[in-house]
């Protein structure tokens, strides 16, 4: 964990309620792995008090990016930040996705729902770098929520879209799109991040087809670095079910570990 009290905002993009900030933070960028996250103090003022967790969306040299949806007090303040403002951040935190060199030449599916697409860009880049064939399933409510469509396409990843209203791609849920695609091809690994219910369905599909899979969980967090014990989740580990801290032991867990 590194504390960077002044990570400079280098770039900002926005789409209705979604935002992307690129933060200059060389040490954090240098250590970051896909699936890890950062705790951001959205204001130097004392309210809101707690930092907010954001997964690391991408790494570009000495910058890391965060992608978020404006929802509550914290993200509303964060959405108002502009280029050249700076943020106090901690990172990289948690354990990320498993990027096994053995996946070279193998096909992997990355399934993201809504803002859950955020950590999958960094993951896709790292998997592509080791020579895995990366196919991305990106599901949202509507075409207007598919903010990162162009960004993924520019990198040449193979993409499968679903929208609940059918404005682009498969009409319906991304889990159903995945199910349909599994008729054609069984990947070596499935990685996923998104709403709880979506991930639960995908875990079930992966279990039925006996595909190894990992999920990045979301939680309210007090600290993000393991001292407050707020962000626990029922996890099966070494044959035992316990409350494990998502911030420290996760946020990524395998389908076998998560108790849905």
């Amino acid at each position: 964990m590194i504390k960077d009290p002044q990570a400079l905002i280098m770039r900002k993009e926005s789409w209705e309620d979604y935002y992307l900030l690129s933060l200059q933070s060389p040490d954090i960028a240098n250590q970051a792995k896909p699936g890890q996250f950062t705790m951001v103090k959205v204001t130097a003022q004392p309210y809101p008090l707690l930092r907010r967790p954001f997964s690391i969306h991408s790494r570009e040299k000495e910058n890391i990016e965060i992608f978020f949806q404006k929802k509550g007090v914290g993200t509303t303040i964060l959405a108002q930040k502009e280029i050249n403002d700076s943020l106090d951040i901690l990172g990289p935190l948690g354990k990320g996705f498993r990027v096994d060199p053995g996946l070279k030449g193998k096909t992997v599916f990355l399934v993201g729902g809504g803002r859950g697409i955020a950590p999958l860009y960094f993951l896709a880049e790292e998997l592509a770098a080791i020579g895995a064939s990366v196919k991305i399933f990106y599901g949202t409510k509507s075409l207007s929520d598919l903010c990162l469509k162009d960004k993924f396409e520019k990198k040449g990843f193979e993409l499968f879209y679903s929208t609940e209203d059918g404005t682009l791609g498969f009409k319906g849920l991304v889990s159903d799109l995945l199910k349909a695609e599994l008729q054609n091809l069984i990947p070596e690994y499935i990685y996923s991040c998104g709403p709880e219910l979506m991930m639960k369905k995908i875990a079930q599909i992966a279990a039925d087809k006996k595909i190894s899979s990992e999920f990045s969980l979301e939680s309210l967090m007090g600290c993000g670095f393991g001292i407050c014990w707020s962000c626990v989740r029922r996890i099966r580990k070494d044959g035992e079910e316990t409350w494990l801290k998502i911030c420290e032991e996760g946020p990524v867990f395998s389908k076998e570990e998560i108790i849905w």
């Binding site: 504390k3 809101p48 008090l49 600290c223 393991g226 001292i227 626990v232 316990t242």
Partner: protein
């Protein structure tokens, strides 16, 4: 050079800044990130005799200038603590203060008895006041007789000094503090968190699975300060003050009100370097105001 050391009588601290229980893990978690040796003391996460699973989530609700927690004292128990944590923790300079919990008077005694045989502990902080374990937050610190009973039993067993941690969820805090003193407590620390709740208006459900939790953070500071002042004015054993301390200035308010040392809690969650920042700000204040020894300002409220 400003002398930041404080003498609690039963315990000398290199400075008055102590990391509060439940906001600093077992003490070692932050060792890779901050220089623990700068701290005056570390209070461990509360320990029951056996490991405890804690409460189901959600365990946390953020509120304006504060947070409500109902962790439920998830923990590793005394055996693992003394085998895995204590041998490491005692290598550091800060006073190691073990926060002791119990579901019954017997359990407090057995935790203290077990740990009294270990090396590396400077004092026990008796947590007779955690509001988030049971619904309703019943605990000995709500009653002077129960406080007296548990403190005196523990005192008989303990090889180390006892700091009794009081709950603010009482009508007459001075009465409880005097009971603890009478029972032989070596010091008093206060305040624990305020019993609180929050509601999600969309679902109409409580924001905590436990319904109630303990409110901490800057929101409670003025009330905590008032209670610390009241207790410090009445007892003749040292008082350790806490409640929403985020800065050196906050810490100074408690010292001036009569606390000999202070604990920093919620601030650690926001900034893992909070304790170090507060120590630096205390140094700066003393230097700027020509104070040679920080103890000089304890209990100097001008009326």
């Amino acid at each position: 050079m400003t002398d930041l050391s404080v003498d609690l009588g039963f315990l000398k601290l290199k400075n008055p800044v102590i990391a509060a229980s439940g906001t600093f893990g077992y003490g070692l978690e932050l060792a890779p990130f901050i220089d623990l040796n700068q701290l005056g003391g570390i209070v461990t996460k509360g320990l029951y005799f056996n490991p405890r699973p804690g409460n189901p989530p959600p365990r946390l609700a953020e509120t304006p200038m504060g947070l409500i927690n109902a962790i439920g004292l998830q923990g590793i128990g005394v055996k693992r603590f003394s085998e895995e944590i204590l041998p490491q923790l005692k290598k550091y300079e800060p006073a190691v203060i073990v926060n002791v919990c119990g579901e019954s008077e017997e359990e407090y005694v057995s935790v203290v008895d077990f740990l009294s045989q270990k090396e590396g502990i400077s004092a026990f902080e008796l947590n007779i006041s955690c509001p988030n374990v049971k619904k309703g937050g019943l605990c000995p610190a709500l009653d002077p007789k129960e406080t007296f009973s548990v403190v005196s039993s523990v005192k008989k067993t303990s090889s180390f000094p006892i700091i009794t941690k009081l709950s603010p969820n009482v009508t007459n805090i001075e009465e409880i503090a005097l009971s603890a003193q009478e029972a032989g407590s070596d010091g008093i620390s206060l305040v624990n968190t305020f019993l609180a709740m929050a509601v999600d208006v969309k679902t109409r459900k409580p924001k905590l699975d436990n319904l109630f939790g303990g409110l901490s953070g800057p929101a409670i500071k003025p009330i905590a300060l008032r209670m610390v002042y009241q207790v410090a004015s009445r007892v003749n054993i040292p008082v350790i003050g806490m409640g929403g301390i985020m800065s050196g200035n906050d810490a100074l308010e408690f010292l001036i009100a009569g606390a000999k040392a202070i604990e920093v809690g919620t601030a650690n969650l926001v900034d893992p370097e909070a304790t170090l920042k507060i120590i630096q700000e205390l140094k700066d204040y003393c230097k700027k105001n020509g104070i040679e020894k920080i103890e000089e300002i304890v209990g100097t409220l001008v009326s």
